[in-house]
């Protein structure tokens, strides 16, 4: 790991000094999600401004099962002792997302709702500063028009003083995830946080592909729990489930594949990045007959090659999914995604053994009554992004 070239102690010292100089004895607000970025940011902020810090966790409704409570408990106890308050805003988010299908529109709505809560809290608590854990890939992807990260404002010209009433400070803005983890360790942040897999700011919203519905989100939460529990010890940097509508626009055939298979194009679209540009494109599900599924899976390199061939030839595609198993009933499809990476700017598809992936699939099909099909996403970044939207 080359992060050893990066001097965390010096960085921490500089950032604490910086924050102190900026805040000048006033009050500052910080929002935590329980991820490594926002927790590291909050820990730095707490060291810098002590009791002048207001620390909130916004329950957006898109966090995982029991997550807000777990995060509050973990961050409130030593060594962090952060004074976390949970603010419930689930209904606001849900209401404003009704009928919205487009990925970027969903993200912009999320950002607006999120900062409405921050803005009103800041006013109530008289905080003139928001200290947030934005990191390099966040603003790189937002400025590059790949996707709107909810925590990127000033970089795209939003005047936060006018719009929300606070100045934004971003101590981690030039770091990548692996460097943040080095800082987190140096700050004695517990391992369950410092090594925690990334979770997007808008949470499960971006994994609930297309329109968000309560039932769809419920099924996603169940599938997420199963995937996270089963893949925890595989040494993979990020692993999760996404839910799609089990609706297709057409069937496609690739004669050169010489497999006994069907390829279906989903109605939902997914975000990708091709040649430094945003690509919002089609998702293809490959269904091989049951007796061949395991054999093709075991030649994983070939499966990735097949993906690359499809995306290279079909310019409006961003995702290739491979069917693991299905049942007869249900209105949704689940896609399992597991990737290997250092800095999340590029990501390789993780190779998992067939028994593991099949067991996860069976459990999802059993526990999620409305899930009909379970796929594995075989698309690297690029051309896909890690998250679906």
């Amino acid at each position: 790991m080359l992060a050893s070239e990066f001097n965390a102690e010096e960085f921490i010292e500089n950032q604490i000094e910086n924050l102190r100089k900026e805040v000048k004895g006033g009050k500052a607000l910080v929002a935590v999600s329980g991820g490594v970025d926002s927790t590291t940011c909050a820990a730095l902020a707490y060291k810098a401004v002590k009791e002048n810090l207001v620390c909130i966790l916004i329950d957006t409704g898109f966090m995982r099962v029991n997550e807000p409570e777990w995060v509050k408990k973990t961050l409130s106890k030593p060594p962090l002792n952060l004074p976390v308050q949970i603010i419930k805003a689930e209904e606001n988010f849900m209401k404003s997302l009704i009928g919205v299908k487009d990925a970027e529109e969903k993200r912009r709505i999320f950002r607006e709702e999120f900062y409405k809560v921050l803005s009103s809290t800041a006013k109530k608590e008289n905080c003139k500063f928001l200290i947030q854990g934005t990191i390099a890939p966040d603003w790189i992807e937002t400025k590059g028009g790949i996707k709107t990260q909810h925590n990127v404002l000033t970089q795209i010209g939003i005047k936060t003083e006018e719009k929300y009433g606070f100045t934004v400070l971003e101590p981690l803005v030039n770091l990548y995830k692996d460097q943040v983890r080095v800082v987190a360790k140096a700050l004695n942040i517990p391992k369950e946080i410092s090594e925690r897999q990334p979770f997007p700011g808008p949470g499960l919203m971006v994994r609930c592909v297309g329109e968000v519905k309560k039932e769809k989100l419920r099924e996603l939460k169940k599938a997420t729990e199963i995937v996270e529990e089963k893949l925890m010890d595989e040494g993979i940097q990020q692993y999760f489930a996404a839910v799609l509508d089990e609706e297709f626009i057409e069937n496609q055939f690739f004669p050169e594949l010489s497999l006994n298979y069907a390829a279906k194009i989903f109605k939902n679209l997914a975000t990708g990045v091709k040649g430094d540009e945003r690509a919002y494109g089609k998702i293809i599900g490959i269904k091989v007959e049951e007796e061949f599924r395991r054999k093709i899976w075991s030649d994983f390199e070939k499966l990735i090659f097949l993906q690359s061939k499809i995306i290279s030839e079909k310019k409006d595609f961003t995702r290739v999914l491979y069917l693991i198993d299905e049942k007869n009933e249900g209105k949704y499809a689940v896609s399992i995604r597991a990737i290997k990476t250092r800095d999340y700017m590029t990501a390789d598809v993780a190779q998992i053994d067939w028994e593991t992936i099949r067991d996860i699939t069976r459990e999802i099909l059993f526990k999620c009554s409305e899930v009909k099909e379970v796929y594995y996403d075989v698309t690297p970044k690029p051309p896909a992004t890690i998250e679906y939207e």
Binding site: I140, V273, G275, D276, S308, S312, T341, D343, M345, P382
Partner: protein, 211 residues
């Protein structure tokens, strides 16, 4: 004096630890900040400069080399419109080693009279790069290595003054060198984590600077 554009980035840098100064000229691509990170890890000071700034100042600022990073634009269209005229002049007259990546590699070919257009088979993710000639940024990488790519366009025809260093199955011009001058172009991304040997390519480039 060249300083990183962002005060926070400036703080992260400890002047004494850098032996060389190689700015990154950004065409706006996703991985330009990773080029700067890679160079910093190799003890090179590498502020990121947008391609639209007055680059003459940079050249006069006593630099050891330049890396031109990628960008999302259709380079051949912008080139025709004259958007790169300033960059064109600079690349022609510059006398420090240059490494041009992705869109900048395409721009380099255009500047010297080559052809660029949409790729028949765009490449995304892992690609096997076959080394034709190691000189000298690909030293030690024969016969082939895996690099990550992300491009919709490609160089179709190499200008006369250039030598081909590498190709892939779907893209015949993956790495090039200008004859008689340490100016290199690569279509793939040596700066991303998944390019095995990417660091080696930067080290080779830095030894071209030190030579």
């Amino acid at each position: 004096m060249m300083l990183p554009p962002n005060p926070q980035q400036r703080l992260n840098m400890n002047k004494e630890k850098f032996n060389l100064k190689v700015p990154v000229v950004s065409l706006g691509g996703q991985y330009n900040h990773l080029i700067s990170r890679m160079l910093s890890e190799l003890k090179v000071e590498s502020p990121i400069i947008p391609a639209i700034t007055n680059l003459n100042q940079i050249i006069e600022a006593n630099i050891d080399g330049l890396v031109f990073g990628g960008g999302p634009q259709r380079v051949y269209e912008d080139f025709k419109k004259g958007i790169f005229n300033l960059l064109h002049e600079i690349i022609i007259k510059i006398d420090v080693p240059c490494l041009c990546i992705c869109a900048a590699h395409q721009l380099l070919a255009l500047i010297y009279g080559g052809e660029v257009g949409p790729a028949v088979y765009p490449e995304f993710g892992p690609v096997e790069i076959e080394v034709v000639d190691e000189d000298e940024i690909l030293r030690g990488l024969k016969p082939s290595f895996i690099a990550w790519s992300s491009h919709n366009d490609e160089v179709k025809k190499l200008p006369k003054q250039f030598r081909l260093l590498a190709k892939s199955k779907k893209c015949l011009i993956q790495a090039v060198k200008l004859e008689n001058k340490p100016v290199f172009g690569v279509q793939f991304h040596p700066e991303v984590y998944h390019t095995i040997n990417g660091r080696r390519i930067f080290e080779n480039f830095l030894s071209a600077i030190k030579r």
